[in-house]
Amino acid sequence: MSESMNSKLEDRRDFLKASALVAGVAVGPGVLFYGIAHSRSPEEGASSKQRWGMLIDTTKCAVGCNDCVTACNTENGLSGKTGEQDSQWIRKLNIKHLQTGVEHNLPMLCQHCENPPCVDVCPTGASMKRADGIVLVDRHICIGCRYCMMACPYKARSFVHEPLTEQNPEVPRGKGCVESCTFCVQRVDRDETPACVEACTASGHQAMLFGDLNNPESDIAKAMKTVATTEVRADLGLNTGVRYQGI
């Protein structure tokens, strides 16, 4: 990394600390938080200096708790129905080892790969990865061919099977396009954490940690330096942005 980049990161870090302090002091996070705690101005786009990631501690993820799923549905305007044709951006997955019988509980969502197969296969370029590593579907040019759903190793994508109304203004969704977890990009862009992470923290389980993998001072980078973490389907070499511990 170049000298100037390092110093820039230093600046950013100081700033993040300062804004965290401000946010911490504010009793009602909604009020004081906005307008001040921006790490980047609206004119500034997402930067490859950051890479957003998530660390999920499966030992803390509680059986029967569905708070992350509920929060996601509320934030993104999903119906919450779980039929074969309904969208699910995040789901609770139970896995049980066939020999030992050991069980793990974990939320499964878009893994925001560095080398996402969905982006590779998309014929129009609607499946895309933002500079900061967030994998998104540009619904403006999605033709609804569903090839990305064939390619995703995590079954993270859903196809909108019916016309929708009353969408969340910040999360446009509609019939005929493919969609998936966005890391709540609308929240991340104003320096909030994804809704699922917020809900998991609020529930007291603290199983989900969100942050910048490129920033060595971030909580997530520090945590990943000290514990063993797992990539799902690491054999595919996709370098996922979501990592699990405890499996």
């Binding site: 789901r91 997955l93 139970n94 129009t124 609607a126 999605c142 019916e162 005929g176």
Partner: protein, 404 residues
């Protein structure tokens, strides 16, 4: 058959049969279009396709047609690239069918898109890393090259171009089928796909399906024009079909034997070859028996030399087997759940770890047959207005007018 059904206007002047066929094709097409508008309005919720089985019956029919389209051009290629006279007489019909069958296949693919209104986006935004985008370029190029190829066969002035364009068309169709097979071969995450074998295997499948389609259309045209196929021609075509069908069986065997050698693929192979219900049935009964061994048995049966009907039945069986193969490949490959955590049993609200169910609705069935209807309609009109009937010099030396 009576002479009142006749497809070549110049030769018999009557058109009852032509209008009958057009009406038949038109009615099916009407059903397809109404299904399309219905689904366009209500969304894919009215289909049997889900977030688990994302490609269904329309894709089975569409991919079959696309694969067959490149294969049907083989007849022309053997004529121009390898200089065989008997195939040259069939080159026009072969090239015409290549165009019409591809049109049918692509029509279904487009009508099934979530946003068919954005077809222009698919034609203007290209992600060149995507094999799907490359396929679109190959399809468009195929139309252009085969169109020119057909012109060189029909226009004496363009005759010098016949050979080079024939060669280009042959190479292009090999690339096209490689790309079509790779749509599946490149899906690294799924146990049913993820094999480089898909490219050559689809080429061999295309040889068999394409030739079978050609034989069926030729038989129909001969019947309607009261022409009997020459015995030597019959013999050549049946031996060629047998070779292709046997090669297709060989590739299928190699794919599954390779998988059986890889421990991580055992679960999938067990699913497909023995426990998969409808998919197992379609694999053994449809793809292998109906589409493989039975046609071979028929072709090599003692009566086949003299009986055009036997070749026709064998070709029809290959087409049926081809659809079974596409169903097994496309739907079966998705029905088997993704294995995200090897060694673990998975369960969730999103149908992880379970074999996914698929039952097509009547709407997607109507959509699926639209490809055949499209092909049928364009072919019928084309053979009516232009000369496509294969005529062998051996049979009637006076009918070589307009041939090369």
């Amino acid at each position: 058959m009576a002479n009142n059904i006749c497809l070549n206007q110049k030769e018999c002047g009557k058109s009852t049969g032509f209008w009958l066929l057009l009406t038949l094709g038109g009615l099916v097409m009407l059903g397809t279009l109404s299904a399309f508008f219905f689904l366009e309005h209500h969304g894919h919720i009215k289909t049997g396709m889900t977030n688990q089985i994302v490609w269904g019956l329309p894709h089975v029919f569409a991919v079959f047609l696309i694969v067959a389209a490149s294969g049907v051009l083989n007849v022309a290629s053997i004529g121009s690239v390898f200089g065989k006279k008997m195939y040259k007489a069939r080159a026009r019909l072969s090239a015409l069918l290549a165009l019409t069958i591809l049109s049918g296949g692509l029509a279904v693919l487009v009508l099934d898109l979530g946003r068919p209104d954005r077809l222009i986006v698919a034609m203007t935004y290209y992600n060149f890393k995507s094999i799907f985008a490359l396929n679109m370029i190959f399809y468009n190029g195929f139309f252009a090259i085969v169109g020119l190829y057909l012109l060189t066969m029909m226009d004496r002035k363009l005759k010098p171009w016949y050979k080079p364009i024939g060669m280009l068309a042959f190479l292009w169709r090999l690339a096209l089928t490689t790309a079509t097979g790779s749509i599946f071969g490149f899906l690294v995450a799924r146990a049913g796909y993820n094999s480089a074998l898909y490219a050559p295997m689809f080429i061999i499948y295309s040889f068999a399906y394409g030739l079978a389609c050609f034989i069926v259309v030729q038989a129909a045209m001969y019947k309607w024009n009261d022409i009997e196929i020459d015995e030597a021609v019959l013999c050549r075509l049946k031996n060629l079909l047998a070779t292709f069908v046997a090669a297709a069986l060989y590739f299928t065997a190699v794919l599954h034997l390779t998988n059986l050698y890889f421990a991580k693929q055992w679960d999938f192979e067990r699913f497909l070859l023995s426990d998969g219900g409808i998919y197992t049935l379609l694999f053994w009964g449809g793809q292998v028996m109906l589409g493989g061994f039975l046609p071979l048995l028929l072709i090599f049966s003692p009566g086949a030399r003299k009986q055009p009907a036997i070749l026709l039945i064998a070709a029809l069986l290959v087409i049926i087997g081809g659809h079974a193969q596409m169903y097994v490949t496309i739907v079966g490959g998705q029905a088997f759940p993704l294995d995200m955590f090897p060694g673990y049993a998975e369960s969730s609200s999103f149908f992880d770890g379970v074999v996914h169910a698929y039952s097509p609705s009547v709407w997607e069935m109507m959509l699926a047959v639209g490809g055949i209807a499209t092909t049928f309609l364009i072919t019928t009109v084309a053979v009516r207005v232009l000369k496509f009937l294969p005529e062998d010099e051996i049979k009637d030396p006076s009918s070589t007018v307009g041939q090369h």
